[in-house]
C-alpha cells in the first residue's frame, strides 16, 4: 500500500508498520479498514451462497443439491449478509472512518472500545463461520420457533452465539458514535452544522443501542429452550411460539433501519456534492432520520399479519407502518429538489446515488403493498417480500455503500479509482440488479412461496430470468473489487478535495494524518456551503 507520494508525508497508513500495528491500532481510520476487510470477506461468502441458490433455482426439480443443503444455503446466505455485512457495512466502515473527521474530532470518544467492537465482530463471525463449515444451519435467518429450538438438527446454537456476540459489537459502536457526536464536535460544529451523514449515523446508533439488547435477550431465551429444554416458545412444553416472533421482530424491524439510514446519509452527501447545492430541507432530513429511528420501534407486528395475531393489533401495526413510510418519502422528494438549479456532474458516486433513489423508491413503495393488510395476506412469505427487501437493502443500501466507497476512496487511500470502469460498474450493477429482482415481484404475486427448493414448473421462466440477472450482478460486483485494488498502485494520486466538496474530511490531506487534522478545525459555516470551498479546489474536478 505504500507509494512514492504517500511516503513523503506521514499519514495514518505509513505512520507505523507491521501486522501488530494494525491489530492493536486505536486509530478509527485503521479500524475502519479492518472492518472493510472483514465485511468484504463476509460479502463474498454470502455471495457464494447466493450464487449456488440461483443456480439451483434454474430448474424446478432442484437437481444440484438436496433440500437440506438448499435450506442451509439460504439461511447462511442471509446470516452472512445481514449480520456480518449489511448491519456493519456503512456505519462500521465509512462511519468509523469519517464520522470523527466530519465533526472535526481526532478520534472516536472511546478508541479502545472501538477496537474491541471489531474483535467482537470477528469473534462472532468466527462462530458463525465455524457453524457453516461444521455442517451449517437451516432455520432461516429468522430462527422461528419451535423449529429452531426443538426440531432443527443443525448448528443453531453456534450460529446464534455468533450473532449474539456480533450484536455487542453493534451496541458498542452505537454507544461510541453517540458519545462522540455529543462530546467531540470541533468548535463551531453545532448540531445543525453537522453533515447529514453524521445525523444518519447518530439515528442509527440510537437504534443499535436500544434495539440490539432485545435481540440478545431473544437469543438467550432460544439458547435456554434449546439446551435446557425449558418451555418458552415450544407449545409442547407449555411455551408460546408466537412470542418469539414478537421478540425477534421487535429488534429486526428496527434493524432494517440500521441497514438503510446510514445509506440515506451517504446519499445526502453525494447528491449535495455533485450538484454543488446545499441539501434541500436539511433540518427535515435530519429530523426524519430521528423520526424513523423512533417510529421504527412501533411497527414490528407488520411481519406477523397472518401469524394469528389479533385483528385489531394488525390494524394498528398497518397504520403505523404507513406513518413511518412518510419520513422516507420526504427524503426522496428533498433529494430530488436538491438537484433543482444545481450544477450536476455525473461522476461515479452520483450515478450510484441515482441508482439508490430509483431502487429505494421502488423498494419503499412496495413496502406500502405489504403494509396493506388485505394485500399482505396474499404476498407475505412469497417472493414478493424477497423482492421488496432486496430492492431496499441491495438496491438501496448496497448502492449507497458502493457510492460512498467511490466518493471517499480518494480520501481513504490517497488514490483515485479509474472513472471509466467505475461508471461501467454502476451501470452493470443497476441493470443486473433489476433483472434479478424485478421478476421476483411477479413470482411472488403469482404465489411462489419463499424458501422453496422445489417449485411448480410454471414458475421456471421468471426464475431463469432472475438467475440470468444475478450473473450480470456478480460481474458488476467483481469490477470494483478489482479496480479498487488496482488503483492502490496505479491510480492517480488524489488531491485533498477531488470533488470540490464541503465536509471537514476534505479539509485535510488524502490520506489523512494520524490525528486527522494538523490543527483542530474551527467551523464557521453551515454544512454544504459551497461558497466556503476555495476556488482552486472547485476547479480540480
Amino acid at each position: 500500500m505504500d507509494t512514492a507520494v504517500a511516503q513523503e508525508r506521514e499519514n495514518y497508513l505509513n505512520a507505523s508498520h507491521g501486522l501488530k500495528s494494525w491489530l492493536l491500532t486505536k486509530d478509527h481510520k485503521r479500524i475502519g479498514l479492518l472492518y472493510l476487510f472483514t465485511i468484504t470477506l463476509f460479502f463474498f461468502i454470502g455471495g457464494a451462497f447466493a450464487t449456488l441458490i440461483r443456480i439451483e433455482l434454474l430448474s424446478p426439480q432442484g437437481n444440484m443439491v438436496s433440500s437440506e443443503t438448499y435450506n442451509k444455503l439460504f439461511t447462511m446466505h442471509a446470516v452472512a449478509m445481514i449480520f456480518f455485512f449489511m448491519i456493519p457495512s456503512i456505519p462500521a466502515v465509512l462511519g468509523n472512518f469519517f464520522l470523527p473527521i466530519m465533526i472535526g474530532a481526532r478520534d472516536l470518544a472511546f478508541p479502545k472500545l472501538n477496537l474491541l467492537s471489531w474483535y467482537l465482530l470477528v469473534i462472532g463471525g468466527a462462530f458463525s463461520l465455524f457453524a457453516m463449515i461444521a455442517g451449517g444451519v437451516d432455520t432461516g435467518w429468522t430462527f422461528y420457533t419451535p423449529y429452531s429450538t426443538t426440531y432443527s438438527n443443525s448448528w443453531v446454537i453456534a450460529t446464534a452465539l455468533g450473532i449474539f456476540i456480533a450484536g455487542f459489537s453493534s451496541i458498542l459502536t452505537g454507544l461510541n458514535f453517540i458519545v462522540t457526536v455529543h462530546r467531540m464536535r470541533a468548535p463551531g460544529m453545532t448540531w445543525f452544522r453537522m453533515p447529514l451523514f453524521v445525523w444518519a449515523n447518530y439515528a442509527t446508533s440510537l437504534i443499535q443501542v436500544l434495539g440490539t439488547p432485545v435481540l440478545a435477550v431473544t437469543i438467550v431465551l432460544l439458547f435456554v429452550e434449546r439446551v435446557f429444554q425449558l418451555g418458552i416458545f415450544d407449545p409442547a412444553r407449555g411455551g408460546d411460539p408466537v412470542l418469539f416472533q414478537h421478540l425477534f421482530w421487535f429488534y429486526s424491524h428496527p434493524a432494517v433501519y440500521i441497514m438503510v439510514l446510514p445509506g440515506m446519509g451517504v446519499i445526502s452527501e453525494i447528491i449535495s456534492t455533485f450538484s454543488r447545492k446545499t441539501v434541500f430541507g436539511y433540518a427535515f432530513i435530519a429530523f426524519s432520520s430521528v423520526a424513523i429511528a423512533v417510529l421504527g420501534f412501533l411497527v414490528w407486528g407488520h411481519h406477523m399479519f397472518v401469524s394469528g395475531q389479533s385483528l385489531y393489533a394488525s390494524m394498528v401495526f398497518s397504520f403505523l407502518s404507513y406513518f413511518v413510510a412518510i419520513p422516507s418519502a420526504i427524503k426522496v422528494f428533498n433529494w430530488t429538489a436538491t438537484l433543482y438549479k444545481g450544477s450536476i456532474s455525473y461522476q461515479t458516486p452520483m450515478l450510484y446515488a441515482f441508482g439508490f433513489i430509483g431502487l429505494f423508491t421502488i423498494g419503499g413503495l412496495t413496502g406500502l403493498f405489504l403494509a396493506a393488510l388485505g394485500m399482505d395476506i396474499h404476498v407475505t412469505d412469497t417472493y414478493f417480500v424477497v423482492a421488496h427487501f432486496h430492492y431496499i437493502m441491495v438496491g438501496g443500501t448496497m448502492m449507497a455503500y458502493l457510492g460512498g466507497m467511490h466518493f471517499w476512496w480518494p480520501k481513504m487511500t490517497g488514490r483515485m479509482y479509474p472513472e471509466g470502469w467505475a461508471k461501467l460498474s454502476s451501470l452493470v450493477i443497476f441493470l443486473g440488479f433489476n433483472l434479478t429482482f424485478f421478476p421476483q415481484f411477479i413470482l411472488g404475486y403469482l404465489g411462489m412461496p419463499r424458501r422453496y427448493h422445489l417449485y411448480p414448473a410454471e414458475f421456471q421462466v421468471l426464475n431463469v430470468m432472475s438467475t440470468a440477472g444475478a450473473s450480470i450482478l456478480a460481474v458488476g460486483y467483481a469490477m470494483p473489487m478489482i479496480y479498487f485494488i488496482w488503483s492502490l498502485k496505479y491510480g492517480k494520486v488524489a488531491p485533498m478535495n477531488p470533488w470540490g466538496a464541503t465536509g471537514l474530511e476534505w479539509r485535510t490531506a488524502s490520506p489523512p494524518p494520524v490525528h486527522n487534522f494538523e490543527q483542530t478545525p474551527i467551523v464557521t459555516h453551515e454544512a454544504y456551503d459551497y461558497t466556503s470551498v476555495p476556488a482552486e479546489e472547485i476547479e480540480v474536478v
Binding site: S67, E68, N71, Y144, Y147, T150, Y151, S152, D234, P235, A236, D240, P241, R276, G281, V306, S307, G308, M315, S318, Y322, F323, I326, A329, I330, F333, T336, L339, Y340, K341, S343, S345, Y346, I357, T361, L365, T366, L368, F369, A372, G374, M375, I377, H378, D381, Y445, L446, G447, P449, R450, R451, H453, E458, V461, D529, Y530, T531, E539, V540, V541
Partner: protein, 337 residues
C-alpha cells in the same frame, strides 16, 4: 414450462378484491415512480455541469417548510386510503360467514391432513364445493406451517398449540395449488397439495363415496367414552363436573371472575390444559390430556362437543356445521355476534 401470466387465477370471492387493491397500489407506485424519475432525469439534464468551475447561483437558502409540508401531507393522505382499503379487505377475510362449511386441517412435517366433519380424511388434497363458504380450523402437530392457496389469495399460519382459522368461497371449479408458506424444515417445499373445487353435486357424490370410519363427531363420541370423559361429564348437573350439552358457543363463567366464549379453541384448551380456565363453581380436578391424545383426536372431541351443542335455531352457535344435519340445512344459523 407453463404459459406466461402475471396474475394467478381468480378462484375465490376474495381474489378480485385483492387484485383491485393491487391495481390501485400499482397505479400509485407507477405514478410516483414516473414523477420522481422524470423529475430527476429532467433536472440532471437541464442543470448538468457545463464547466468545471461552474457554481449554482449563490447559495440559495430556502426558508419555510411549505414544500415539505405539502409533500408530507399528500402522500400521507394517499397512504390513508391504502390503509383503509387494505384493512377492509382484511376484515372481510378474517370474518367467516356463519353458514360456512367446516373443515379441519392439521399440518405435520411435511403433509396436510384435512378432515371433513362427515369423516372423510384427505392428505394433501382437499375437495370442496364451488360457491359455498368454507371455513378451516387449523392446527399443527409440530412446527409452524402456513396454509396458502394463491388462487384464493388466502394465507394463514398454522400454529402448534392453538387453533387458527381462515375461510374462502371458491368461485370456479378446478384444481388449485396448496402451498405451505412458512418454513418448516427439510421438505418445506414438498409440503404442497391440491384443492379440488367441484360442482355441488359432484361434491355430494364424492362425499358419499369412499369408506369413512364414521363422522368426526361419532368418533369423538367413542373417544369420549374410551377416555372416560363420560365418567365425570354426565348430561345433567348432578355430578361434580359441568355438563357439556349446549356448551358450544355459550358464554362460560370462570372461577375468579370473567367469562369466556366456548369456541373451538376454548374446548381444546379445556381438554389439554384444564387448569388454564376453570369453570366457576367447580373444582379443578379434571386431568390434563396433553401428550395423551393426538391433535386429530382433539379435533374429534371438539367436534363431538359441538355436535351436542345447541341445534341450529335453538340457541347460540358460532360457526361450523352440525354434522347431524345435511350440509344444505345449515344456512339458518342464528347471528349471535
Amino acid at each position: 414450462m407453463g404459459n406466461f401470466q402475471f396474475l394467478p387465477e381468480q378462484a375465490s370471492t376474495l381474489a378480485p378484491e385483492v387484485d383491485h387493491l393491487l391495481y390501485f397500489l400499482v397505479a400509485v407506485t407507477v405514478f410516483f415512480s414516473v414523477v420522481i424519475f422524470s423529475t430527476i432525469f429532467y433536472f440532471a439534464i437541464r442543470y448538468r455541469r457545463r464547466s468545471a468551475n461552474e457554481m449554482p447561483d449563490a447559495h440559495q437558502a430556502h426558508n419555510g417548510y411549505t414544500l415539505e409540508i405539502i409533500w408530507s401531507v399528500i402522500p400521507f393522505g394517499i397512504t390513508l386510503v391504502m390503509f383503509t382499503w387494505g384493512a377492509s379487505v382484511f376484515f372481510t377475510a378474517s370474518r367467516p360467514p356463519k353458514d360456512a362449511l367446516q373443515i379441519y386441517a392439521v399440518g405435520k412435517r411435511w403433509m396436510w391432513k384435512l378432515e371433513h366433519v362427515e369423516g372423510q380424511r384427505e392428505i394433501n388434497e382437499l375437495h370442496i364445493p364451488v360457491g359455498r363458504p368454507v371455513r378451516l380450523t387449523m392446527t399443527s402437530e409440530d412446527v409452524i406451517h402456513s396454509f396458502f392457496v394463491p388462487a384464493f389469495r388466502t394465507k394463514q399460519d398454522v400454529v402448534p398449540g392453538r387453533y387458527t382459522s381462515t375461510w374462502f368461497t371458491p368461485t370456479k371449479t378446478g384444481k388449485y395449488h396448496l402451498f405451505c408458506a412458512e418454513f418448516c424444515g427439510t421438505k418445506h417445499s414438498g409440503m404442497v397439495g391440491w384443492i379440488y373445487v367441484m360442482e355441488p353435486n359432484d361434491y355430494q357424490t364424492w362425499l358419499s363415496g369412499g369408506a369413512t370410519e364414521g363422522s368426526l363427531a361419532e368418533n369423538g363420541k367413542k373417544l369420549f367414552e374410551q377416555l372416560a370423559c363420560s365418567n365425570c361429564h354426565k348430561d345433567d348437573t348432578t355430578g361434580r363436573c359441568p355438563p357439556l350439552p349446549n356448551l358450544f358457543g355459550s358464554q362460560v363463567k370462570l372461577a375468579g371472575g370473567g367469562t369466556v366464549k366456548a369456541d373451538e379453541a376454548y374446548i381444546r384448551e379445556s381438554i389439554l390444559q384444564p387448569q388454564a380456565k376453570v369453570v366457576a363453581g367447580y373444582e379443578p380436578v379434571m386431568p390434563t390430556f396433553q401428550g395423551l391424545i393426538s391433535e386429530e383426536q382433539v379435533l374429534q372431541l371438539v367436534e363431538y362437543v359441538k355436535s351436542i351443542g345447541p341445534k341450529p335455531g335453538t340457541g347460540p352457535a358460532d360457526s361450523g356445521q352440525n354434522p347431524a344435519k345435511k350440509p344444505s340445512t345449515a344456512g339458518s344459523m342464528p347471528a349471535n355476534r
